[in-house]
């Protein structure tokens, strides 16, 4: 099995018909991995990380349940606004326990909602005065629509790394396991031995130069 993760808000592998979102991961079979050209391209571009793994058969300790996200209002609403994501995709039939999948989905939803809430609250110029139950429900409706729009991916842009050094907050996926330890030596290399009288002097001079620079430093 192969585990696919991403550091982008959302990545779609067209020929597999799957979408991977930030904070969540997707399992695929070896056949799917080998047959997907799109996945190989995304991997080469560093937008996804694909790791050969076996799904854990051991139930992990249940994580602490977090209180659902709720927007602070004059009258707190029970349950808050954080509803479980009901996406079209069914639970992956990969042998992962349902509870684990549910936790992964909830975690992804919480993180996405926190990011969206921060954006909405920053962008909203003023909030009209809310009176009565109808006003409150109308405001909740508007907020839910805004959250839904943001979560659908519109208005978000992938992290651009053109010409930019990656920061700690924006890790760039450099694939692991590029060098296969089991591959035998298969290359015929052209090897030449030569005398190089200046090499040691140059190395010594360079070391002295760097030492002096450090001392002056």
């Amino acid at each position: 099995m192969y585990l696919i993760e991403t550091n982008q808000p959302s990545v779609t592998v067209e020929d597999l018909g799957i979408t991977i979102r930030l904070g969540s991961s997707v399992w695929i079979t070896g056949e799917q991995f080998r047959s997907s050209v799109c996945l190989k391209r995304l991997k080469a571009l560093g937008q996804v990380r694909v790791t050969p793994k076996k799904p854990s058969r051991v139930e992990k300790k249940p994580t602490k349940k977090r209180a659902p996200l709720s927007v602070s209002m004059s009258r707190p609403r029970k349950g808050g606004l954080a509803k479980p994501l009901r996406r079209g995709g069914a639970e992956p039939s990969t042998g992962i326990p349902v509870e684990q999948v549910r936790r992964m989905v909830n975690q992804a939803a919480l993180e996405a909602a926190e990011a969206v809430a921060g954006r909405i609250l920053g962008e909203t110029p003023t909030v009209p005065p809310v009176t009565g139950l109808e006003g409150l429900e109308a405001l909740e409706g508007r907020i839910e629509q805004a959250v839904g729009r943001a979560l659908s991916g519109r208005g978000t842009s992938p992290v651009s790394v053109q010409g930019a050094e990656p920061t700690l907050e924006e890790p760039m996926f450099i694939p692991e396991g590029i060098v296969n330890e089991t591959d035998p030596s298969v290359l015929e290399t052209h090897t030449e031995a030569s005398s190089d009288e200046g090499l040691e002097d140059a190395a010594a001079a360079l070391r002295a130069l760097r030492r002096n620079r450090k001392e002056q430093g």
Partner: protein, 332 residues
């Protein structure tokens, strides 16, 4: 001095590894930066011919290096290149695996725990928007997975370290590569200016081919067979000389332009040498050709040049310069 430390020059056309094997002795290993994928049915033919390959089971087989070019001719195909324009080819899906194979075979096993390996990275091009971060990160990962401690070193600065020790590591180095040209200016080992231009040997081949209605492969073969840039014979050689002249002029004028941006904060206390290197500089009479081109610009050039010379070993100068940096990590 120990024999620890290695230099790895990763180029579009060749990958070269340099290692010290004794007092005043250096061993360089080179592999062509090319590969070819074949169906599993070709295994028998390759075994009969003694050609090594990587077996990928139902995904076929891969031939890497010089053999890939030879076999590609047999099958009437083009060999694939994991690097393009000096950087990892974005469109080449198998590039990473191939580069891993090449580097692993060239470096071999470490001689000491986490032995230092200085590998070359180009400078950012001034005339194209290309990302170096991914390229550098990939090779750091590959070299690390081979058991080495990876350190990235600028390609043209490596030539400074290899060729200008007697000038106190001061000079202007131009590395004429296949995918790009790298340029570095340094005084007393301090890097003042490093950049690259996205034209190189491949650009010459493509331009001359287009001008004469020929192919880039033929132009490349013509170059390797031997062309005298000062006395080109025939249309094709004249086209090559013309593009060589254009490339030299471009590098010189871009250097002058880039220097203007730093001249107020980077003083050159004395005239410095220019060192030219790289596979593209191996064309016949390239040095006098370059000197002639420079003389036309000398009066307008922003700093004084003491002399212009060719690297002692143009194909291996970068690897040698990186080796010098790696070896000094282990000096007493």
């Amino acid at each position: 001095m120990s024999n620890y430390g290695t230099g790895l020059d990763i180029g579009t056309m060749n990958v070269v590894c340099a290692r010290r094997t004794g007092k005043d002795k250096v061993e360089t290993s080179r592999v062509r930066d090319a590969f070819l994928d074949l169906d599993a049915g070709a295994k028998r033919m390759l075994k009969l011919n003694g050609v090594n390959f990587v077996d990928r089971g139902e995904d076929g087989i891969i031939v890497v290096g010089d053999a890939a070019l030879e076999i590609a001719n047999v099958f009437g195909r083009e060999a694939r290149r994991p690097l393009s324009g000096g950087l990892i080819s974005a469109g080449e899906l198998d590039a990473l695996e191939i580069l891993g194979i090449m580097v692993k075979n060239l470096l071999g096993p470490v001689k000491t725990n986490r032995e230092y390996c200085y590998f070359s990275v180009p400078a950012a091009p001034v005339d194209a928007d290309r990302d170096l971060v991914y390229h550098k990160g990939i090779f750091e990962r590959i070299v690390s997975e081979c058991g080495y401690t990876p350190v990235a070193g600028n390609e043209a600065m490596a030539i400074i370290y290899a060729e200008t020790a007697k000038e106190g590591f001061s000079g202007l180095a131009l590395s004429f590569g296949s995918g790009m040209c790298n340029i570095a200016l340094a005084v007393n080992g301090i890097e003042g200016l490093t950049f690259s231009v996205s034209q190189g040997g491949d650009w010459i081949d493509a331009g001359a081919a287009k001008a004469t209605g020929s192919t880039a492969s033929r132009m490349c073969a013509l170059k390797e067979k031997g062309v005298d840039l000062l006395k080109p014979e025939g249309r094709e050689q004249e086209a090559l000389a013309l593009y060589y002249k254009s490339l030299c002029e471009y590098c010189i004028s871009t250097t002058a332009k880039e220097f203007q941006k730093i001249k107020d904060r980077f003083a050159l206390p004395r005239p410095i040498p220019i060192v030219v290197s790289g596979g593209t500089a191996l064309a016949g009479n390239f040095l006098p050709f370059f000197q002639q081109t420079f003389e036309r610009e000398r009066k307008r050039f922003p700093f004084e040049v003491s002399d212009i010379r060719m690297a002692s070993d143009p194909l291996n100068a970068v690897a040698r310069g990186l080796l010098i940096q790696a070896v000094q990590e282990y000096s007493d």
